[in-house]
Symmetry: C2
Subunit: 243 residues, 2 copies
């Protein structure tokens, strides 16, 4: 399984991915699910991947290979808008599914999905989710976060706490707490967590932090949150009795 | 959708169910998913239902009709143990599935699942989950809660906070917070919440509290928890930057 999260705020984007890949519980490995494609000062594109590992790698590696080829509709560096980027990712996913899907299906689910976030000069920063069929939708201030993979355990903390006008640091903190909830409840989501903060207008993807299990901040965050939550629950009165 | 939760503690059981039933978003109704069958002083059986409403009602109503008929293997009042009760529920589910399943399948999922908790004199209090195929498993102090229906949103709070030696009141409070998380993230789970606290050895099912949306305790719990969580998240330091 996988958990990837994208958050759209007024001042930028937070993009985060776990690193666990598993084909059965006896085949677990660490992979990188966050890919950055950038031309500093001109465009930043971040792609987060979930689903079948061979499919998602074929899409991302294929797009990397095709990049700077200048072929309209295939080249991430030639795309005029992030909408066009999402379409290129969706089209590539369809091509890979068409090529490999029927061979993979007897062994397991061949599908994949993606989050595509970033900015191209002349546009605001944007965030898209590319679904398994290759179609896609865009985040907005009314639905400021998108998730792929194991989405449910980490959703309540975002539903409660996330507003579109929070700072990037606050959004990044909520993102890590969302990963904490997910990793406690699903062993197939695992560290390290790749966490990108992208500041709108910077057109630079330099703020990528990596949190492994023994990272002091990550351990402290989990412990303090857990302790605080226990104290909070303790402080609430018990339900009245019926009958 | 549905959310039902059963918690096994050293001193008793907490059993809770939401009340929303929906066949599409334009067909929403309130139903009771918590059924009590008791012979005070001798046995208390509580059945929580999820899944296809016709299937779950056919099982529970069928068992109610058959009760006190004295037919071994079919009569909840004749069962010697709660293990036997779970088997009767599973067998009834198989009979209903056999009778109705193929007619229902073209229209939707005909399956259902159940939590069965309670106590029969001479035994400790017990909790079982009856799966869609009619087989079942029992809760223990190593896995003290069981969920059916929309299980994921409400799981993190239980994974964090629930220990088998908490008081029934604490377990009941955690159960309501688990429902709060679920109801915020999934509109198809809705109030009122039926909440039963069963004290081991009492052989009496009198403590059933009902929390509708305008219940003062329920509103206060949600608000105080939400405010406390916001303050807790605010108090945590932001993640360090990378790059």
């Amino acid at each position: 399984m996988t958990y990837c999260l994208g958050i759209l705020t007024t001042t930028g984007l937070v993009l985060a991915a776990d690193s666990r890949s598993n084909a059965g519980v006896d085949h677990v490995q660490r992979v990188c699910k966050l890919t950055t494609i950038e031309n500093p000062g001109e465009r930043v594109i971040v792609i987060l991947s979930a689903g079948n590992l061979a499919t998602s790698q074929a899409v991302v590696t294929g797009l990397r290979q095709a990049a700077r080829g200048g072929v309209a509709g295939h080249d991430l560096f030639a795309a005029r808008t992030l909408f066009d980027v999402a379409q290129i990712v969706g089209d590539k996913l369809r091509a890979v599914s068409e090529r490999d899907g029927k061979f993979v299906e007897p062994y397991g689910d061949p599908t994949a999905s993606f989050l595509v976030g970033g900015q191209i000069r002349g546009e605001p920063h944007r965030l898209f989710e590319v679904y398994a069929p290759g179609n896609f939708a865009e985040a907005s201030d009314r639905s400021p976060f998108m998730q792929i993979g194991e989405t449910k355990y980490g959703k309540p903390i975002l539903d409660r706490g996330l507003q579109t006008d929070v700072s990037l640091d606050e959004a990044a903190k909520l993102a890590l707490l969302s990963f904490d909830a997910t990793m406690r409840s699903n062993l197939s989501v695992g560290a390290p967590i790749d966490l990108m903060r992208y500041r709108a207008g910077s057109l630079s993807a330099t703020d990528l932090a990596v949190f492994d299990e023994d990272n002091a901040y990550w351990q402290g965050l989990r412990q303090r949150y857990s302790d605080g939550l226990t104290a909070l629950v303790d402080s609430l009165p018990p339900p009245p009795h019926g009958g």
